[in-house]
Chain length 388, copies 2
């Protein structure tokens, strides 16, 4: 018998309980022992729910139960969640989470603590919801030197962009639609300004190269300033506008990480990823490009990843998974990155460009600094990077 | 220091040696110890290669070396490879392979032997080349009940189909082109008749439900009989013809597995997978649909997966990975599967069908048996299943 607890009974927490209810038999068969939900910790009153019998309000009950093996942290944020995660690890519990904010900002400390206490701290659900991507990255692709990770990491913004491209409706209207459908929160800033995607690309970068990249160190540009006409011109020219998180290994060993809307050529599999779906492309020096695709959010998909981690932690009880990152990464200035650029509304078409409709053009590869200077010189109204 | 050996120095074997040469530093860092290529076993003379110093011709050298940890089996086939794999496992070595024929036909016995000897038998490279798919299936998605696995599992046939669709050239010509480019073998039967895809869908099915499905038990239909006009009509109607391997869990707990060319609607991500790329879609009852995409063959991509398994085996030296399948699966008759069908060339258009160009039509969902009866009654020249 393995015992676990859920902290925070919101979307993810209740999804985890539901997945156990749905699949208890197959989970027991795979684990070789029954998995028991022993506690649900939440400030709310759960006495009217089927979980009344396991509801607790005091964290120390979990902390002091020597038979409790795994704690699922589904509280969110980086305050209470940080405190309880620290204490759970200190108490020798394995901890599993979907909390990207906590992992991106405090993962280094928490993984180091987990190593000290010889327990697992696992967080597959923090990136890409239910899509298996972190474990494939650090395990299946371990024989590669990772060159690049590029992903559509936020379903809300991808839904809005898909509506702008396919429905021809402007950003504000698409956002309202996303809110009405429950895909965007009432305060959508973390999604539409690229902060959520930024946390996820940091976690991917941490794992790809074993060096810490904190969210506050990377440039994030969201989609709120995106003009519908650029989306339409790009689409006519064979590109889809996508909000991408990118992490790159550059010649000389430096790294870069950022979030920005890009023009993605239609031949790239990322271009076809629509609606609330996420996809992450990983380039390794042996495997080439591999892509992982699926639902990046939602109660059951996210709970699927959490449950996979709970089972993995239990299968690695004696010998924890080696996982972690150490010193800070040496990041290059974004201004030095070389790629082609989309420009619109300049006074004249720059030389050596592919001319598009609506006074827009695609430049050849140049640094972000050069592209900005060119856009300024021409008085361009729009400047977007192009994925190669 | 961890020691490993490569048996068979062809495409995959030499790729594994090359990946170690390229990435020795990062592999050592991740493993926490250097990885040493101690032996290469091959019948050929390697004295003129950089690997002369580690070349051996006698398997018993590997078998009797108590310091050898892992053996990579890259011999292929199911004769010598079976014998050496059995003996390596018996000698307490971990074994890693890309040999789908061996895993599909003898995996049950070999995994049972590995369990007995408390060693790992891993085969991520046997399906999808470098694409991480087996480990995500049995580990990351372990919390799900798997409902379906559907994949483009053979790059050769996908290249030929892509040339037929996009280039408008007939099968024979596309095959010759694939052979000229080295994508198809001189005897292409195993690829074009669907046997290779069949072995892979058996392995996926074995892992998804833990019950053995042997290749000889499933129906495999390849692409050699495919008419260019059906590919063209389908394309015009918004479908791509793809050779799919499918494994399904049916109501009541029975299973089905088969390989056949299908019409895939363009909205399905599998439709956009072109050329030599592979993609595998997995449906779980919690996660929904997830897809894995990348190069399904080639020396370095396949070696990437092998190397990931070698490292995983070393990280699970004391406590082997629980992996295996037991009794035979209860398979349903394919004739009972219900789906829509593509028909061409009948004497009349059947009722309740979507009429396509060229005398073709799409039926509503019906069993394969009903579709065959209908095709026969109408004297149809072509009958293909449609992915829903």
């Amino acid at each position: 018998m393995a015992d676990f607890a859920i902290m925070g009974f919101g979307t993810v927490g209740s999804g985890v309980a539901e997945v156990l209810r749905m699949n208890a038999d197959s989970i027991e068969k795979k684990l070789g022992e029954p998995l028991k939900l022993k506690y649900i910790l939440d400030v709310r009153d759960l006495s009217a729910t089927p979980y009344a019998g396991v509801a607790v309000k005091d964290f120390s009950v979990l902390e002091n139960d020597p038979d409790l093996d795994v704690v699922v942290e589904a509280i969110g944020g980086a305050r209470v969640a940080l405190d309880f995660t620290r204490r759970a690890l200190m108490a020798g519990k394995h901890v599993v989470t979907s909390n990207k904010e906590l992992v991106a900002s405090h993962g280094r400390e928490l993984l180091s603590l987990a190593r000290e206490k010889n327990v697992n701290y696992l967080f597959e659900a923090s990136v890409g919801g239910g899509i298996p991507v972190l474990r494939p990255l650090f395990q299946c692709l371990a024989g590669n030197r990772i060159e690049e990770v590029t992903g559509i990491l936020n379903g809300t913004t991808n839904y809005i962009l898909t509506r702008m491209v396919r429905g021809g409706i402007p950003f504000d209207e698409a956002l309202k639609e996303a809110q009405a459908r429950g895909y965007a929160e009432q305060n959508p800033a973390a999604d539409v300004e690229g902060l959520d995607a930024g946390r996820k690309i940091c976690i991917l970068s941490d794992l790809a190269w074993g060096k810490e990249v904190l969210p506050e160190r990377i440039s994030t540009r969201g989609i709120s300033g995106l003009d519908l006409q650029d989306v339409a011109i790009a689409s006519q020219a064979g590109y889809q506008v996508k909000l991408l998180g990118r992490a790159l290994r550059l010649p000389g060993g430096k790294q870069a990480a950022y979030v920005a809307p890009h023009l993605v050529p239609e031949a790239c599999p990322l271009a076809g990823v629509d609606g609330v779906f996420n996809a992450i492309m990983i380039r390794g020096n042996a495997v080439g490009d591999v892509m992982f695709y699926g639902r990046g959010a939602g109660d059951l998909p996210t709970a699927s990843a959490v449950m996979g981690d709970v089972m993995d932690a239990l299968q690695h009880r004696e010998k924890r998974r080696e996982l972690g990152w150490s010193e800070s990464a040496e990041l290059t200035e974004l201004d030095d990155l070389v790629m082609p650029w989309y420009l619109r509304g300049g006074r004249e078409t720059p030389a050596d460009c592919r001319v598009l409709s609506g006074g827009a053009a695609l430049t050849g590869p140049m640094t972000a600094q050069e592209a900005k200077a060119l856009a300024e010189k021409l008085g361009a109204a729009a400047l977007l990077p192009v994925l190669q």
